[in-house]
């Protein structure tokens, strides 16, 4: 089990992210929580292209299964590059 991204996303709780799914749906919202499978819960959600995808018009909070996530667009100031490099090297060593 890898904790690098689990920890990273935990630190990102409260920030705005856009989760892009493997069915091309993109959901923007505030990161509420994340677990070891990288399942994600978003609050205050809105679908990025609501005209094309009105399927979640009345959904404001949602649970997204980690396995259907393709990308997560991160806030530019939510990426501490030095910290990530160090954590990646540590993880690569199996630590």
């Amino acid at each position: 089990m890898t904790y690098l991204f689990f920890s990273y996303f935990k630190d990102l709780v409260g920030r705005e992210v856009t989760v892009e799914l493997k069915n091309d749906l993109a959901i923007r919202g505030t990161l509420h929580s994340v677990d070891q499978y990288l399942n994600i819960k978003l609050e205050n959600t809105r679908v990025v292209d609501q005209d094309k995808y009105p399927h979640m018009l009345s959904v404001r909070n949602c649970f997204i299964r980690g396995s259907v996530v393709r990308y997560v667009q991160l806030p530019p100031d939510g990426v501490d590059i030095e910290l990530l490099h160090d954590a990646t090297r540590r993880e690569a060593r199996g630590g």
Partner: protein, 141 residues
């Protein structure tokens, strides 16, 4: 029975010792080579584990903080600076350019129309299960 197996212990231990010393010798011989592969991105003294290239992922570690090319499922390609990865090939990329290739079939001529759409994203987490290949930067010049 017990005597027999007991008698086998001695050469066994000796043999194992031989193999062990051979491995150590090999490691010492290979060290400069391995180190030369891994000089980039090392901070301070690296342990042997740190620098050994034993598996494909070790090569990706050498691409940390470099622009890489990633081919993904569903005809997507990414180019971006590698900031983090794990053993599932989950990644965080910076200054990402994504290219999506779609093929449409013309209603009248039935010709295939290949379209590519491009976009850029400042920072992107990429889930590893969609990754087909990762290509390190070209080391030209």
């Amino acid at each position: 029975m017990t005597v027999k197996s007991g008698a086998r212990v001695l050469p066994d231990v000796f043999g194992r010792f031989l193999t062990l010393s051979r491995i150590v010798a090999l490691k010492i011989l290979l060290k400069p080579l391995v180190y030369s592969l891994c000089t980039k991105g090392r901070t301070g003294m690296a342990t042997e584990e740190d620098s050994a290239v034993k598996e494909p992922l070790d090569l990706i570690r050498l691409s940390l903080d470099e622009r890489i090319y990633v081919k993904l499922r569903s005809d997507r390609e990414l180019r971006g600076k590698l900031h983090a990865y794990d053993q599932h090939l989950n990644m965080i990329l910076g200054d990402v350019e994504e290219i999506v290739t779609t093929v449409e079939i013309d209603d009248e001529t039935y010709e295939e129309i290949v379209r590519t759409t491009r976009r850029t994203v400042p920072f992107l987490f990429v889930r590893g299960d969609g990754v087909i290949l990762v290509s390190p930067p070209l080391r030209t010049a």
